[in-house]
Symmetry: C2
Subunit: 228 residues, 2 copies
DNA sequence: TGTTCATGATAGCAATACTATTATTGAAAA
DNA sequence: TTTTCAATAATAGTATTGCTATCATGAACA
């Protein structure tokens, strides 16, 4: 996997670019691990500082508060998925095949070889599955949307919507179905693990094949009139 | 609308049953309004007490903390939807018609005539749309699930799954699709209002017809082979 | 060599999340 | 009627959280 890919994110998300310094990278690394361990509600900058052997004040120099840090991590994740989709669908013409690859990538992004040493992609995936929706279910969603904090997610969604439109030009809900694919992928992984009666798929030891199968079933039953 | 319907909820959700006293009902009423106004993160028992002209300590006698209060409200909402679905599908045999009614009820539950004076159903609906997923995206989800806090939602989901199975006995994901319907209904209302590029439907002044149309389109395209 | 700038160390303050104690009230029970 | 009892109000208090300010240190760099 390429070393040196740089995930570029909206500058308003942080006070100082955490990717550009050793301390910033430590913040990213340990915040992922700590949120995964204790959950976003119990997580705070004091605990993070202790864990990474730094100080609360130093963390505040990078992120305004823990909400922005979570949003940063979530954006990072979607940007990473977006990058993987681009790489994996490069030179693939057939839209059906493209959508298959998109779904596969979406579900298995966390198992790709680590690209960046300070981000444990598979732990980050767990964090996004468990806490990701809190990044946009906030009172200030409109202000934050206005300044572009959700652009990554919207662009990724638009990219997938384009493929859906290619596949079935008459399908009336391409954007909705694109975002539903993302939401379903994460939701059903969470359900399988914690509320299994809300789904029909099983997940064990990071094996998400059944989720992938389900998403493909939904996609091709909705979009392809004659395909199994 | 019937007066005196009683929403019955898991007793572990509260310290003292809020439906049984005037103060408890005031807590329900004002917490819905206040969470809607300032969002769940900014909401706390001190502000609630001031708003309802009572004291913090009194609120704590009903709910252990604000998480349990939110969970209570969410459970209340799903129990209310469940009740409406039962009433509306009573004596309807055709499973296709039943599913149509379920989807309609799901989307327009908030517009039913108020049944209980201390609950503003349409504000509660906004709260569930905006904050509902925080009720189960928590570190203690497994413990809370074990003691039955999510039973309402799971039973409702099971109820809908049954109809899906009647409609298409070979459909392999009835539970997943049932919960997806609930999640989509709320998500796309939220998207339409705050992140419109993530959906294709429009919502204005509490008119959710386009959401309803979309859910029906998904449902019948997935489940009925010949109903375009 | 002096300046700049990131970080560490420490302190502090206002708000939050609760708990405890006592007083009051209003309704049920005797 | 009086007693008693439970629910609530009033008040206070503690530990933690969320965040800011200040100053010292030490590396980079001009």
């Amino acid at each position: 996997m390429a070393i040196g890919i740089k995930i570029s994110l909206n500058e308003g998300l942080f006070q100082r670019d955490p990717q550009s310094t050793a301390l910033g990278q430590k913040i990213i690394k340990h915040s992922i691990l700590l949120i995964d361990e204790i959950g976003f509600e119990a997580f705070n900058f004091k605990k993070l500082a202790v864990r990474m052997q730094s100080t609360e004040a130093s963390v505040y120099r990078y992120f305004e508060n823990k909400h922005f840090l979570l949003l940063y991590l979530v954006c990072w994740y979607w940007e990473w998925v977006s990058y993987l989709i681009d790489v994996n669908t490069m030179n693939i013409e057939d839209p059906k095949r493209r959508l298959e690859i998109i779904i596969h990538t979406l579900v298995s992004a966390s198992q790709e070889n680590p690209a960046i040493e300070y981000v444990n992609e598979s732990v980050l995936h767990r964090v996004v599955v468990a806490e990701g929706s809190k990044a946009y279910h906030i009172k200030d969603v409109d202000e934050e949307n206005k300044v572009g904090f959700f652009l990554n997610y919207k662009q990724l969604s638009a990219k997938v919507a384009t493929v859906i439109e290619e596949l079935d030009a008459n399908f009336p809900y391409p954007h909705a179905f694109a975002s539903t694919l993302f939401e379903m992928a994460n939701n059903h992984i969470y359900f399988a693990e914690h509320l299994p009666r809300l789904t029909d798929v099983k997940v064990q030891q990071g094996n998400f094949e059944e989720v992938e199968g389900m998403l493909k079933y939904f996609a091709f039953r909705l979009l392809c009139k004659n395909s199994g």
